[in-house]
């Protein structure tokens, strides 16, 4: 089982490699990837340096081009595919059928992975993408329970990658437009959810307010910790009560079900967090490397160490974690 780690910049890439990643994933500095944040991502020189650093240590490099191209920006996406192909990266992580079609035709020998943003949650969907674009891996959206993941793996010929840790998208990835409803920009069109330029923080007598595109997405008491300004984790008025209407600020953490993940035949575990610090990447990569090694040595005896949980909780949103959709009661 491969450990796939986030790299928002060259120092994070090196941190992931040094701490036991089998592969790192990264994006270019534009809206062709789903972490299109200011100051993040790679130019060609950084990728070349990163590729060399990773290759010298037998670690793979994947490039995410996993947003949706519109006609006016089409050549930016095809250009990104060509650049990644020229750089000789190990795989492209794509979501858009048009971009997949282009990549499969233009670069038939390139490894294509279907991004989580591609929204393939069942054998027929994966079969369709495999038949037409020859995808060699699928990253499944965070909607399936671990039992459903195991069942899916039995039915498909394509290796399955799942998210193991990090910020939790509550909605099916690639099919969530909440961000553009409030701000005009979504992960699909812009490569960011709740983009920073549209977020406002305000101190008011009632409390600290967070607004996205002018919409009040959270108001918390003075001194309450501020979460990420994603609108699905805010508190709203529902039937006269103020509550988390969609999800609480929490991160996904599947450490406790690692033996089940291994037994299900999952090909790779992805850690979320290209937008996070180098320190985050070092810490979570190290914990997951140690955990996977321990689990593979002796799955029956595997118990997640308390120190691992502590480390992960410290870097988690809202300092709490959940098994999320992998655990049926979450649904």
């Amino acid at each position: 089982m491969e450990l796939v780690c986030p790299a928002g910049n060259l120092p994070s890439l090196k941190a992931a490699v040094d701490n036991g990643a089998d592969a790192v994933y990264l994006g270019f500095r534009d809206d062709t990837n789903a972490r299109h944040f200011a100051g993040l991502n790679f130019g060609d020189k950084q990728i070349r340096d990163g590729l060399k650093y990773a290759r010298d240590r037998k670690v793979k490099v994947f490039v995410a081009i996993n947003t949706y191209a519109q006609p006016s920006g089409w050549t930016r996406w095809t250009g990104a595919v060509d650049r990644a192909a020229d750089l000789g990266v190990d795989a492209l992580i794509l979501a858009d059928m048009g971009v997949l079609d282009y990549a499969a035709e233009r670069h038939p020998h390139l490894n294509l992975h279907l991004s989580v943003q591609g929204s393939a949650t069942n054998p027929a969907a994966i079969g369709f993408m495999h038949r037409h674009f020859g995808i060699r891996r699928v990253v499944v959206p965070r909607v399936l329970s671990i039992t459903q993941v195991a069942n899916l793996i039995e039915q498909v010929d394509v290796p399955v990658e799942i998210f193991g840790f990090g910020s939790l998208c509550v909605m099916v990835e690639g099919r969530c437009l909440l961000s553009s409803y409030a701000s005009g920009q979504s992960p699909n069109t812009f490569g960011a959810c709740s983009p920073a330029a549209h977020v406002e923080w305000r101190e008011t007598p009632q409390g600290q307010e967070t607004r996205l595109g002018g919409v009040l997405i959270e108001r918390r008491g003075h001194g309450e910790p501020a979460g990420y300004p994603t609108l699905c984790k805010g508190r709203y008025l529902v039937n006269g009560t103020i509550r988390h209407a969609i999800e609480e600020p929490t991160s996904l953490n599947t450490l406790d079900i690692l033996p089940d993940i291994l037994a299900a035949g999952v090909a790779a575990i992805k850690l979320e967090g290209r937008q996070r610090s180098t320190r985050y990447v070092s810490q979570v990569t190290r914990v997951w490397r140690d955990a996977i090694d321990a689990c593979q040595r002796n799955p029956q005896a595997f118990r997640a160490k308390e120190s691992w949980h502590q480390t992960l909780a410290q870097v988690s949103e809202g300092a709490q974690t959940t098994l999320g959709p992998y655990h049926r009661p979450w649904h």
Binding site: A124, L177, A182, L237
Partner: protein
């Protein structure tokens, strides 16, 4: 060569909510009489809702056809379980009616015969359009976050014989999840939902802490609280060559909404008057920002102040 642009036809989207069976049947009896050209039928949100089975929808579809309209069978937007996949396969295997795909799985089953790609299929560019057209796509509903610029670009490059439909009126379907949010807000799990989504015939309102309507929860689907409305852009969508405008059913006034669109399209009613009526009937106000490339929640005043009068619209074709 100049010619007058053909008027877009009107379609009725699938019912997105969990209404009692009797209400559904009465609703369609009324819609058969309404000035609609196409009616989409089927459960698209939650596989647990089974008050109507595929057989019921097929029977309704026969009646739609008998009433001189086109019937399209619409399908589930998120396929997770083997059971859902099996039902989808069964629906797609029936070739009497056109089928609308809302998950990639449906594309797999429908490939090679005519089909519709619903707005939950991510068709964002000309290459995806051409790719799907080569596999049988006859019509696509634009993803709801895309606006006029992308619509214009896609319409310019569309393959011969492929129609374009816009989500023109209704609470916008914005997201899908494994979680049932209606049940979640009653502190229940999906497996013990007790079909509580049936209590909210137009979705459960989520307002900001200031009380401003923001979203509407409909089971695993999250919608906008605001009702997206393209009536102010009628001239423009006609000029672009959009073929169909979709009205999404709501629990009240749907027939009047359809008639308002129809009268404006026929030039029998001016858009300002139509707009004033629609405002009365939307549960929590109108919005249309997506069309002009803004936030979906925005009300783009520019559109409302554009010169109206459908009859004046003309289009240049090559």
């Amino acid at each position: 060569m100049h010619r007058e642009s053909p008027r877009p036809r009107l379609s009725l989207g699938p019912i997105l909510y969990h209404w009692p069976r009797e209400q559904v049947l009465e609703f369609y009896a009324e819609m058969l009489e309404a000035p609609l050209d196409v009616i989409y039928l089927g459960e698209t949100v939650c596989s647990k809702r089974r008050l109507l089975r595929p057989e019921d929808y097929w029977e309704l579809a026969e009646r739609v056809v008998a009433a001189g309209k086109e019937a399209v069978i619409s399908t589930l937007a998120l396929i997770e379980s083997d059971g859902e996949l099996k039902t989808l396969r069964r629906i797609c295997a029936d070739e009497r009616f056109l089928v609308e795909a809302n998950d990639l799985a449906a594309l797999d089953f429908l490939e090679g015969r005519p089909f519709v790609a619903g707005h939950a299929i991510n068709l964002y560019n000309q290459r995806t359009l051409a790719f799907l057209a080569a596999r049988g796509l006859r019509r696509w509903v634009m993803p709801v976050e895309l606006g006029r610029d992308t619509a214009a670009d896609l319409l310019r490059s569309r393959p011969h014989g492929v129609e374009c439909e816009l989500f023109a009126f209704g609470r916008l379907p914005l997201a899908y999840s494994a979680r049932c949010f209606t049940a979640y807000n009653r502190d229940r799990q999906k497996d013990d939902c007790q079909f509580c989504c049936g209590d909210d015939p137009d979705g459960l309102l989520v307002a900001t802490q200031d009380g401003d309507p923001f979203l509407a929860l409909n089971g695993i689907q999250t919608q906008s609280a605001g009702t997206h409305n393209l009536l102010p852009a009628l001239d423009e969508v006609a000029r672009l060559g959009v073929d169909l405008l979709r009205i999404s059913p709501q629990s009240h006034h749907t027939r009047e909404i359809v008639e308002t669109f129809s009268h404006c399209l026929q030039g029998e009613l001016d858009v300002e008057t139509g707009l004033a009526r629609l405002k009365e009937w939307a549960p929590d106000g109108l919005c249309d920002g997506y069309w002009s490339g803004q936030a979906g929640i925005a009300v783009a005043g520019a559109d409302a102040s554009r010169p109206s009068g459908f009859a004046a619209a003309s289009v240049r074709t090559n």
